[in-house]
């Protein structure tokens, strides 16, 4: 919304100034009338979008369109830097946070800070006052023409102004930004109370704990039951409980191999599955000897 307010009068004024000097080409006008409605729609989208990511994307559209208009008005440096800094870094960080926090339409919109709305109105009015003032003072200036402004290419001209006329303001802004960054660091800094545990220590601890050193086996994948809730089979054809997700086991949603086998019509599969391992020669199969009957009843394994 702010971007829209900021953009429209400024652009109109700029377009007016250019028209007075007779330099608005047909292409530029066409570009403006193509981009302006898009920007207005996107700015409205920022206010009315229900999902936070859509609002963020609307801002991106406004920023990019604005950048194209800057470039068209022969301020290429401003246009390109706008995209790099605001679209490429600032909005990207916003998206980052939105995605990590997972802000959604279902979130409560109740204000937690008291009097937030009134403060918001106050600041909004103040900003509007500043903007109107800027536009009013700007309209009284006699245009120099772009040729004079961009005599030594646009970036050089801009550099002369920023690092010459406004160097103090620039330094003050720089100090402000650095202070903000350091402040953010201080707020998020935590003192480390314990020694840092590195990769080697973790590995040693795991070996010492005597648990499995490798990832747990994946759950069973059979032709008829390609499912997470059926345990895998070990070399002897016995189910491995640890292969099914702990969550499923706690919830009691695990299916045993028997059930799968029964579904598939191999009724007697349970017999050898439950039987203890009695060495070679039994139907369960031991070591490299495969079980004589497949669990799923699909086919006979030789």
């Amino acid at each position: 919304m702010t971007a829209l307010h900021l953009a429209s009068p400024g652009l109109a004024a700029a377009a007016g100034t250019l028209a007075e000097t007779g330099r608005t080409s047909a292409g530029e006008a066409l570009l403006f009338w193509c981009l302006a409605p898009i920007m207005v729609l996107a700015a409205l989208g920022l206010v009315f979008a229900r999902r936070a990511v859509y609002a963020a994307m609307s801002v991106v559209v406004v920023m990019v369109s604005l950048a194209i208009l800057y470039v068209a008005q022969e301020a290429p440096f401003l246009g390109v830097v706008q995209v790099i800094v605001y679209t490429g870094a600032v909005m990207m960080l916003f998206l980052f946070v939105l995605m990590l926090v997972g802000v959604d339409a279902s979130d409560s919109l109740v204000e937690t800070i008291k009097g937030q709305r009134w403060i918001g109105w106050l600041f909004g009015l103040g900003l509007a006052g500043v903007l109107v003032g800027v536009v009013l003072t700007a309209s009284g200036i006699a245009p120099q023409g772009l040729d004079a402004a961009n005599a030594d290419t646009n970036p050089v001209g801009l550099a002369r102004i920023i690092f010459g006329d406004y160097v103090f303001a620039l330094e003050v802004v720089g100090v402000l930004l650095i202070t903000a960054a350091v402040g953010a660091l201080v707020f998020t800094h935590r003192e480390r109370l314990t020694r840092k545990v590195g990769q080697k220590e973790r590995a040693d601890a795991r070996v010492a704990a005597g648990t499995s050193l490798v990832p747990l086996p994946a759950p069973g994948v059979y032709a008829r039951s390609n499912a997470m809730d059926v345990p895998a089979l070990d070399a002897q054809g016995r189910p491995i409980d640890a292969s099914v997700s702990r969550v499923l086991r706690v919830r009691g949603q695990e299916r045993s191999v028997d059930e799968v086998a029964a579904d598939n019509g191999a009724g007697d599969a349970a017999r050898y599955l439950d039987a203890p391992d009695t060495g070679p020669g039994t139907t369960g199969g031991v070591g490299s000897t495969p079980p004589q009957r497949s669990i799923t009843g699909e086919e006979t394994v030789q």
């Binding site: 990511v53 991106v60 068209a72 290429p76 390109v80 790099i84 490429g88 990207m92 998206l95 961009n150």
Partner: protein, 476 residues
């Protein structure tokens, strides 16, 4: 695709072409008209798409050679048509739209990636001015005073494709992939931008054609070697290639942000990735390797004959493919980083190094400008300072080794340390094998009781013994 690049070209060329023509030495686009722009834009698109096909084949073939296998060799001569067949397969596969996805963004994300990757080549100079059917025009779509910044801006936009694609898929792995890629791009684009600043300082311009022009004497990768190295590293990070391919790490995230994409939408991401590789290679060529300029011995032949006309296109492509080869080489050599190591390199090494380097270059540049010292004296002074610095670095005592853990050598060998059968640590001796002891005892006994010449037997016994032992070890 064609439309987007050409409109961008028209726009940039039309709106910003004027200031460039006024500047010194830059490419002169004054004779271009909309038809020339259109033709150049279409040629760039065709060039990029065919290059991608070749790049995929090239990568598979080179990686295969590095792994001692033939690579694709069935379709077409040398398997050249393999990537065409792959592309056809992707086009004809079923296009799956994930139910939990956010439809609009899910579909738009791959397009953002591809469009943004196509835009970069608008400002890359392929060569100097050539004359085609009476029109004299530079082999470059457009150029303007902040062309390199424009490249950075477009790459920054391209990341939105990855981020939004991962988010809109509505699934965990893609989301993790896109969060990683956001963090990655923000940190590595900083290092990348900073490494380019020193080129701007020396070239005195941010327009690509002027930067190429400024490298007539020396290519910037020599005087700006540290910046070049930083750029090389961060460009690999920027395009999500091994060893920096954490956003799509197969081992952890299936394939990261593109897990839920299939068919043509996946192909668009794939296309964007390869075009981005070509892009960053072309940027490295333009900014650090003299752009389209002929390499040294050739550039001296016949009064710079190889720097005019259509020859430069050849040099440009050769250098660009050299960087592409480097991408493949790195992929075939290095392993993927751990995420925290990766971030540490970006923030604690690359960015401070790039900042320090910029300060150095700026100081040297200002000394040159304000005191008008000639370049040779300056270089000698700098060389002397570097030598003194290196000499002084020898005086700094080396970092003490961490308080030594009890050395393995002094500890007795425990064959079952921590409950696992383990080999001896460095410096530890295996206890003598009981089998060898038995064999030696038997040999001694045989020698003592033997009636033949004693010296011979005694000499022979240990040697056979050792031989047996060696064989045992290899078998084990």
């Amino acid at each position: 695709m064609i439309l987007s690049a050409s409109t961008a070209g028209t726009l940039l060329g039309g709106a910003v072409g004027l200031p460039t023509s006024a500047a010194v030495r830059g490419a002169d686009f004054s004779q271009d008209n909309p038809w020339v722009w259109l033709i150049k834009a279409v040629l760039i698109i065709v060039f990029l798409l065919t290059s991608v096909l070749i790049a995929i084949w090239f990568e598979r073939k080179v990686v295969a050679r590095m792994q001692i296998r033939p690579g694709p060799n069935v379709h077409g001569p040398f398997g050249l048509l393999q990537s065409l067949a792959d592309a056809m397969k992707l086009l004809l596969k079923e296009d799956i739209n994930v139910k939990a996805s956010d439809k609009l963004i899910y579909i738009v994300a791959p397009m953002i990636s591809v469009f943004c990757s196509l835009l970069v080549f608008a400002v890359i100079p392929f060569g100097p001015e050539v004359s085609v059917f009476g029109v004299v025009t530079p082999l470059q779509l457009t150029d303007f005073p902040v062309a390199v910044l424009y490249i950075l801006a477009v790459t920054a936009l391209g990341v939105y494709g990855i981020v939004l694609g991962g988010w809109s898929s509505g699934s965990t792995y893609p989301l993790l992939g896109s969060v990683r890629s956001t963090a990655q791009v923000i940190s590595y684009e900083l290092a990348m931008g900073l490494s380019l600043v020193s080129v701007f300082l020396l070239a005195g311009s941010m327009s690509t054609s002027q930067i190429v022009d400024s490298q007539t004497q020396v290519w910037w990768f020599l005087p700006l070697a540290p910046a070049f190295v930083i750029y090389l590293i961060s460009m690999v990070g920027e395009v999500n290639r091994l060893p920096f391919d954490l956003p799509e790490a197969e081992g952890e995230l299936v394939s990261g942000f593109m897990t839920e994409y299939s068919s043509m939408k996946f192909a668009w991401f794939f296309l964007a990735e390869y075009i981005n590789m070509i892009n960053v290679s072309a940027i490295a060529t333009t900014l650090f390797f003299g752009g389209w300029r002929a390499p040294w011995p050739l550039s001296a032949i016949n009064d710079g004959m190889f720097n005019e006309g259509w020859w430069p296109v050849l040099w440009f492509l050769a250098k660009m493919w050299m960087f592409m080869f480097m991408f493949v080489w790195v992929r075939g050599t290095l392993l993927r980083f751990r995420y925290d190591q990766f971030m540490k390199i970006g923030w604690k090494i690359l960015i401070p190094a790039a900042l320090g380097w910029i300060v150095l270059v700026a100081v040297v540049q200002s000394v040159r400008q304000f005191t008008d010292t000639d370049l040779r004296t300056l270089l000698i002074v700098l060389g002397a300072i570097a030598l003194v610095g290196i000499g002084a670095s020898f005086l700094i005592p080396e970092k003490k080794a961490p308080p030594a853990e009890p050395r393995a050598k002094d500890q007795p060998f425990d064959a079952f340390a921590d409950g696992y059968p383990v080999p001896p640590l460095p410096g530890q001796q295996l206890p003598p094998s009981p089998r060898r002891l038995r064999a030696r005892a038997a040999a001694d006994a045989a020698a003592r009781s033997g009636a033949g010449s004693p010296t011979l037997t005694v000499e022979a016994a240990p040697s056979t013994d050792q031989h047996d032992d060696g064989e045992e070890e290899t078998r084990g």
